[in-house]
Every structure is written in structure tokens, then in C-alpha cells.
């Protein structure tokens, strides 16, 4: 059998999942103080619904979304609001956040209700519950889920895909979730299928997770409309467009979205969050995060409340070993390097990765030697070397015709580049310039 994958490009970074792939998910202790940013999603930030000194219960709505592309935010712990002010955020700057001092009681609000027959509500009611629960894409992109579930009339959706690829090295949060909570993922997929009124559901998993493939194949055995697709281990197999191409053979057009080819893709963590929201009435206040890397004393997969500072989590994992070099929110290919351990876990924090100083290979950026490896590696088949040279030279007019806006910033080019060129950085800069010019 031909293994499924995307046709061109891709790289094979060391998987490095051995740190945590066999470790069951553990609950992290509740933070003494939670820092809940009012922006945890792509789109408009929330307005605070609470005031300083007010007390809140777990699951209470504390951030009101502004606009359609936004998602409400809920209190992850019970306690007293001690501040509403700018705080460090994993995206690299300070963002207005609600700070909650815990009362240590984990007191839940009464409003939370169970729905045993979770497929009985109407699609509109299901979608309302998903919106109410503040669910966003948990693979890291944090795009509000209800928006993805509201395609315009003319886009006919026929397939919902749940993304269990987890192609980022080191990360195992999705893997453990699939092995330990398959019923939540399958239930979530069924809810998504009902909301979108589609007949076909798919779960894509890389073949380096045979246990997850087995568990989910068993969990979907009695569901004829849902299939599990084992996929070749190749980065970035889990990128939305590449995943759709691998499973369905459909190519999302340049500048388009999955809905243009009749598909909606959701991460396994998102599917599980959807299930918990509908079945148990639990808003998105916690997630699975992999704390890993050679710089962590005891790597773990954690179920952790949103708002828990990185410093608390690292302490729970035995602290740092050696001289810390880099702390990354997310995986090594697309994650963001952190400047402070005061940043909190947000809805999109798929992992906390720590490299020691000695694990980092800091290189000079050398001139491009035109080896063409970045072109071979690029899953979007653009020419990163050329874009990099143009950006360095300030030739921004040439970027768009060379498809700079098609870049998904997966990092394959910079990973492979023997000249150590910061290609993703250069392309991002070029993209921003092009978009700024378009706005004018």
C-alpha cells in the first residue's frame, strides 16, 4: 500500500518524541495566580467582564468577545481578580490580561450542565455551545473554531478532518490525548460533522504513532462514516493544506482556505474540547501541553489550566537542567522563543520546549550558495532562497509574484539551509511589507 503524504517538499527533522511519548497525561497543580490574557486567539481581543477585587468561579465568563472572529475567555481557577493590566504574553509582547489570585478551592460555577446525548441538539445549538465555550484551534494557530464552522453558503463542505498528525518534533500532547481519550476525539468529530452536516469524517495520524492509530481505529470501528488515515512521517504533514492533499488528494488553491475544497480541519485537541464543551458543558479552560526538551529535568505531558505561568510548570517538572538557552512555546519548527518565564499557558500552547545552551547551534547567516535545498524542502513549492535574497536587498516588489503570501512559515527551508540563512524570518518580514503595501 502506498503511504499517504503530500506530493512535494518536506523534511525529516529528528522526531525527538522519546522524552514524553510514553508518559501518561498528568494534571498540573492549580496555579496560585493565573494570568489570563484577553487575547488567546487570532482576531479581536476580548473586553474584560470582571473588575479588580471581584471574585470568580471556575468556568465563569470573564472576557467578552468583540466581533465575529473572536472567542470568549473563562476563568480557569476560582479566586479574586487582583489586576487587569498588561502582562507578558507568549507571542512576544505584553498584552492586557486578567490576573486571578487563587482561593485554592477550585470552586466551579453551577451553570455547567451535562448533555448525555451529545448529538441530540440541533447544529445551530451545537455551534452556539462551541462559541460559548471559547474554543479555538488548539494546534497552535488559535483560530476561533466557530468561525471555521460557519462557512459561507456557497462553500459546500463535505468532509471534516481531525488532525492528529502532530508532525512537530518533541511534542506528544496530541499523541497522548489520542491514546488516552479517543472517545472525546471521536465524539468531537461527530459533533463537528453534525454542525457542518457532512457525511464524511477523517482522522489523519502520522505512522510514528501506531498506538494512537490502533486505538482510534478501534474507537471508530462502528462508525462507517469515519476513517483513520495513517500518514507518512514527514514534516509538515500536519499543515492543513498538506494534510488535505495527503488524505483527499485535493489541493487548496493559492490564497484559498480548506473550505474552498469542501473541507474543515480541526486539531484533535480542538475536537476533544468540542466534545467536553457539548457533553459536559466545560468551557476551554485547560489543555494538554507537552513540557519537554533536553533542558527539562522531568519531561511530562500535562493537563494544565490556561493562565498557569511557565515558571510554575517548569518547577513542577523539576526545573531546568544545565544552562538554559532557549525556552520555546510550541515545537522547535514553528514555536516562539520566549523572553520571560512569566508568560502564561494560553489556549494554543501545545508545548513548552527547553533547550540548554549546548543544544543550540547558533550560526552566522551566510550568503546563499544556491544549493536549491530549500526549494526541494518547501512543501508549498515556492523559492525561499530567492525571496530571502530579495528581502535582504529590499526588493519588495518582486515578492508577491514569487508567491511570498503562499508561505506557511513551516520552517523547512531554514531547517535545511546549509548557509544558516534565517529564511522564515526574512519571508515573514517580506510578507508583512507586501500586506502593508496592499492596505495602502
Amino acid at each position: 500500500m502506498k503511504t499517504l503524504t503530500f506530493p512535494a517538499g518536506g523534511v525529516h527533522p529528528p522526531e525527538s518524541k522519546h522524552y514524553t511519548e510514553q508518559k501518561p497525561i498528568e494534571a498540573a497543580p492549580l496555579p496560585r495566580r493565573a494570568i489570563v490574557p484577553l487575547q488567546q486567539h487570532i482576531g479581536a481581543p476580548c473586553d474584560p467582564l470582571v473588575k479588580v477585587k471581584e471574585t470568580v468561579c471556575v468556568g465563569q465568563r470573564i472576557g467578552e468577545p468583540k466581533g465575529f472572529v473572536s472567542a470568549p475567555i473563562h476563568a480557569p481557577i476560582s479566586g479574586t481578580i487582583s489586576a487587569i493590566a498588561d502582562r507578558p504574553h507568549p507571542l512576544g509582547r505584553e498584552i492586557r490580561s486578567i490576573v486571578i489570585d487563587s482561593d485554592g478551592e477550585d470552586r466551579w460555577c453551577d451553570a455547567i450542565t451535562e448533555t448525555a446525548d451529545f448529538l441530540s441538539p440541533s447544529p445551530a445549538d451545537l455551534k452556539a455551545k462551541i462559541l460559548e465555550a471559547g474554543i479555538v484551534g488548539m494546534g497552535g494557530a488559535t483560530f476561533p473554531t466557530h468561525v471555521k464552522l460557519s462557512p459561507p453558503e456557497e462553500k459546500k463542505i463535505d468532509t471534516a478532518i481531525v488532525n492528529g498528525v502532530e508532525c512537530e518534533p518533541f511534542l506528544t500532547a496530541d499523541h497522548r490525548l489520542m491514546v488516552e481519550k479517543p472517545e472525546e476525539i471521536v465524539g468531537g468529530l461527530e459533533i463537528l460533522m453534525k454542525v457542518l452536516s457532512v457525511k464524511q469524517g477523517a482522522i489523519g495520524i502520522e505512522m510514528n504513532k501506531p498506538d494512537a492509530i490502533e486505538v482510534l481505529t478501534r474507537a471508530t470501528a462502528d462508525k462507517p462514516h469515519v476513517s483513520v488515515y495513517p500518514l507518512e512521517v514527514k514534516y509538515p504533514q500536519g499543515a492543513e493544506k498538506q494534510l488535505i492533499k495527503a488524505i483527499l488528494g485535493r489541493e487548496v488553491p493559492s490564497g484559498g482556505l480548506p473550505m474552498d475544497v469542501g473541507v474543515v480541519v480541526q486539531n484533535v485537541g480542538t475536537a476533544a474540547a468540542v466534545f467536553r464543551a457539548v457533553r459536559h458543558g466545560i468551557p476551554l479552560i485547560e489543555r494538554i501541553t507537552t513540557v519537554t526538551g533536553p533542558g527539562i529535568a522531568t519531561p511530562k505531558n500535562l493537563r494544565v489550566r490556561v493562565g498557569t505561568p511557565f515558571s510554575d510548570i517548569l518547577e513542577f517538572c523539576g526545573g531546568l537542567v544545565g544552562k538554559a538557552g532557549k525556552v520555546i512555546s510550541g515545537g522547535p519548527m514553528m514555536g516562539m522563543a520566549q523572553y520571560s518565564l512569566d508568560v502564561p499557558v494560553i489556549k494554543g500552547t501545545s508545548g513548552i520546549l527547553v533547550f540548554r545552551d549546548q543544544d543550540l547551534r547558533l550560526t552566522d547567516s551566510n550568503p546563499c550558495i544556491r544549493c536549491g535545498k530549500c526549494i526541494t524542502a518547501c512543501p508549498m513549492q515556492i523559492n525561499p532562497s530567492l525571496l530571502g535574497v530579495y528581502v535582504e536587498a529590499g526588493v519588495m516588489d518582486e515578492l508577491e509574484v514569487h508567491h511570498v503570501l503562499d508561505c506557511i512559515e513551516c520552517g523547512s527551508c531554514a531547517f535545511i539551509c546549509p548557509a544558516g540563512r534565517p529564511l522564515v524570518h526574512l519571508v515573514r518580514y517580506g510578507k508583512a511589507e507586501v500586506l502593508a503595501q496592499k492596505k495602502k
Binding site: N366, R370, M380
Partner: protein, 366 residues
Amino acid sequence: MEANRKETAAQEETKAAAAPPKKGEKAKKPETSSDAFILSASPHISSGESIRSLMNDVILALVPGLLVGIYYFGMDAVRVIAITTASAVAFEAGTQRLMGRPVAVSDMSAVLTGILLAMNLPSGSPWWICVIGSAVAIVVAKQLYGGIGYNIFNPALVARVVLLISWPVQMTTWPEPKPFFQRGVDTVTGATALGKMKESLLLQGDLSGIADIRWIDPFLGHTGGSLGEISAVALALGGIYLIARRVITWHIPVSYLGSVLVMAVIFHQIDPNRYAPPMFHLVTGGLMLGAFYMATDLVTSPVTYRGMLIFGVGCGIITMVIRYWGGYPEGVSFAILLMNATTPLIDRWVKPKTFGTTVQRAGAAE
């Protein structure tokens, strides 16, 4: 589409705040904070390959060819290799210093250029030929064009051609190959196989002059020629190593050797008295050295696979045109340099097929 716009706008805000780093700038730690972490853009891991590791791999791949050269040409070969390599490194460092560029001889590219130049010279070359060659390769063909990555023409080949045109006698005086244990004091010189072919065609009007050359000799290395080009098998072995290590891809060597083979077969069929057998063309001259090590030079060849195939076929055709009808017996150097000149054009025409550009975007027509 509203959603898409918002998404990209937010990405732009959050991700692209910093300016691109200047060339040669290192990722630095902030010095203000005691628990300062290194900040840099993703990705945070790399393949571990570097310019230096690529160059070292090519040098390693050249070792069999160099050993055959030393076996047949003795200490003369060692002398030429030593002089070109040392002077290439010296010119590289000197020019970089003079031009105010960072001295980067540790990237091994100058060492490789020096070795490749030696392999393209007769083993009896006087020291000053070696030094002038290195100067032309490094100073003129590389650094004056902007240094590594910016040169249009293969530096070692530019040097070889400049030397060949300027000092044709020295550059075509080929010591006879002789295993070192049989070597006497006097060096006997003779013509290369391709030289004998051209001479025979000119004087006798047929190929009788190469009738006694068995293909196995140049295949193994027992033939006259530049010190690093004589053994087809040793060079091909190194080339296969480079393909296996993914330093180069098969596209240029296969299309180059393939087009030479096809042309040789066709013309040998047409007139076996004027056109030598295909095997003769494949194993003689600088073809193996050119196809695996010179034409595949990363900087001066196209960046896409399809571009590489065009490039290789062009090299093959020009090589054979010069061998058949040109004034020089061998055309590999000229062929590669001419195709080097077309590389920017090829790269302009042949672009990767970007994902999603061959399908129509839904609603785009409305």
C-alpha cells in the same frame, strides 16, 4: 474571506515586528537580564549541514581521483595539489581582508577550489602556473564577483581556461602516466586520448590513431591528461558518494553523461570512421570530473531539478560539439562555463510549481 484577512493581519502584527538581520550577524543573547534566554525566529533546530560540511564532503569524494592521480603522476601531482590549494587559501584570506569582508577560509570553499584547479592542470605544471591559476580562480572569478554565492562562473574552470588560452604549451604538456614504483627520473610526455583523436582526424582523416586505445585504460586511469581527470571509475565513485550524501542530486550528472552518450551513439552509428565509440567519449577527457564535480557546483548551476536537467543536457551537447567540430580536442570546460552563463536565464524560466497555483480558486472568477 473575511476570516482569512483577519488571520493574516493578526499574523503580520504579532510575528513580523523585527527587521531582517544583517548578513553575518549572530543571534545574540540579550544582556540586560540575568535569566536571559536566546531569542530568534523559528525554526529552532537545523539539519546540521553547513557550507563547510558540504565542501568537506566534496573534498572527501575527490580523494579516490586524487589518489589515482598521485599513483600515476607521483610527487609532481602532490606538488601541484599543494601549491594550488595553499595559494588558493592565501588568496582567499588576502582578498577578503583587503575587501573588508570577514575572512572565511574555514568554510573550506577555497580549499576545494584549489584542489579542483589542481585536478584540472597537467601534473607537470610549473609552480607559477599553479599560483596564477589560483589567483584567477579566487580573486577574479570569485571574490571580485562578490565572494561565495555570488560568482557566475565556476572559479576553477575560469582559471583553467585562462591558463589554457594564455599558456597553451604548458597547459597541454601531458606527462605519461606511470605507476610510481616504475617511475624513473625522466618524465616522458604524450598526448591525451582526445588529443590523439583530433590529431588522427586531422592528419589521417579517420580514427586509426586511437585504434590501440582500449577503454579500460582511461576507465581505470592509465591515460594522459590533467592530474585529476584520468580515472573515470574513481571520479564516478566519488560522484555516487555525493549523490548518496545528497550534496548533489543525480540530475546534472545523469543528464550531462546521458546526452553525451546519446550523441556519441547517434554519430558513431552515422560514421564509425569519423566518430569514436560511445564508451571512448564517456571515459576520456574531463567528462567525469566535469559532470560530477564542476557542472554540479551549487553556486553556478540552476536551483530547480528541471533547470538542472536543461543545464546538464546543454553541457553534454556543447561538449560533444566541441569534441567533434571544435578547435580544441576537449570541450568540457567551455561547455560548463557557457552553461554557467545561462543559469540565471534557466532559473528565471524554470520555476517550482507552487502548491495551489494549478487549481482554480473557488469564487475567484466572480
